[in-house]
């Protein structure tokens, strides 16, 4: 039994790789799979914060690779779900601390223990990225619906295409979409992005303030029932497991006449 090694990448920074890694990891673990989350942003670690595990980090990925500890000593078990473990990045080193061969060896060890190995890739296209994808067989490209993110995603896809023999499949997640802005033609639509990037779509996640709250609390949204972004990530996890889940209806709720009357009579606070 061998697990699936999936790298979450984007090119552009700040589009939601770490958020997606945490949420997809949690959602997968909640379907019953065993999941290892790997933070490959060496020197700028954040996955531990998003998971609320920053106080539990003893050893990290570089310690494992440099053989100062065993892998199981470095893996931090999630507070909420024992199926889920985090391999933290080092905070005091940088992306030269690990090489591709070491990463491949690590991924091999991880896939023999876990159903899913979800790797949070750093931004960029240099060695940090190259090492993060070294052991992966699948990739999820995160993009936000705006020109610079799409351009960077396109570059990343080009780099992934060049490794078709190792990375067998790569799919797109469009993150932070704002349906109202799309409707107003102020933001690219899902179709616009897909037409340009031309790769398979894995899912779409709406912009959601709850993400900020969840990051501060260290509780990924996909672990609770009450958010739209959480539902989107849970759907993505189900699709990863082979289920055919239709895309969420992201249409803007149309204003009812009652809403409009209430708005008219409500004093605006300045």
């Amino acid at each position: 039994m061998s697990g699936r090694v999936i790298v979450i990448t984007s090119g552009k920074g700040g589009v939601g790789k770490t958020t997606a890694s945490a949420n997809i990891g949690v959602a997968l673990a909640n379907t019953g799979a065993s999941v290892a989350l790997v933070d490959m942003d060496i020197g700028l670690r954040n996955l531990d914060i998003l998971m609320g595990l920053e106080n539990r980090v003893v050893y990290n990925l570089v310690d494992v690779v440099e053989e100062r500890c065993k892998l199981r000593q470095a893996l931090v078990k999630d507070k909420r779900n024992p199926n889920l473990s985090l391999l933290p990045a080092a905070q005091t080193r940088d992306k030269t601390a690990v090489n591709a061969e070491q990463m491949k060896k690590l991924c091999l060890e991880l896939k023999n223990t876990f159903d899913f190995v979800v790797i949070d890739c750093p931004a960029g296209i240099e060695s940090g990225f190259q090492n993060a994808i070294a052991g992966a067989e699948e990739a999820i490209v995160i993009v936000t619906p705006e020109m610079s993110a799409v351009r960077d995603a396109d570059r990343i896809i080009g780099l992934l295409e060049a490794r078709k023999d190792e990375i067998e499949q790569y799919r797109l997640v469009i993150n932070r979409i704002r349906p109202a802005m799309v409707k107003n033609a102020d933001m690219m639509s899902v179709e616009d992005v897909l037409e340009i990037l031309s790769i398979k779509l894995l899912g779409v996640v709406p912009e959601d303030e709850e993400i900020i709250i969840s990051t501060n609390k260290g509780e990924p949204v996909s672990g609770t029932d009450n958010t739209r972004s959480g539902l989107a990530f849970r759907n993505i996890a189900r699709r990863l497991r082979g289920e055919d889940v239709p895309l969420m209806d992201l249409d803007v709720q149309s204003e009812t006449w009652l809403n409009r009357i209430v708005k008219f009579f409500t004093p605006v606070r300045v």
Binding site: D154, G158, S198
Partner: protein
């Protein structure tokens, strides 16, 4: 945006495509009288690949 990405993917510096188009026009013009006004060059995207489509309206051949 699509155009920009096709240029990105092909690593085309500014002006390079125009140079190519001028040369293509010159070559075809050696063989045919062309209706220069209607000559069209299009860089199109097919999946993630680009295709350069050139359209020359031929008037008569030059011998």
């Amino acid at each position: 945006m699509r155009d920009m990405l096709v240029h990105d993917r092909l690593e085309l510096p500014a002006g390079r495509l125009e140079s190519l188009e001028e040369e293509l026009l010159a070559v075809v013009s050696r063989y045919f009288e062309l209706d220069k006004e209607t000559t069209r060059f299009d860089l199109q995207q097919y999946d993630r690949r680009a295709a350069l489509i050139a359209n020359f309206r031929l008037l008569r051949s030059k011998c």
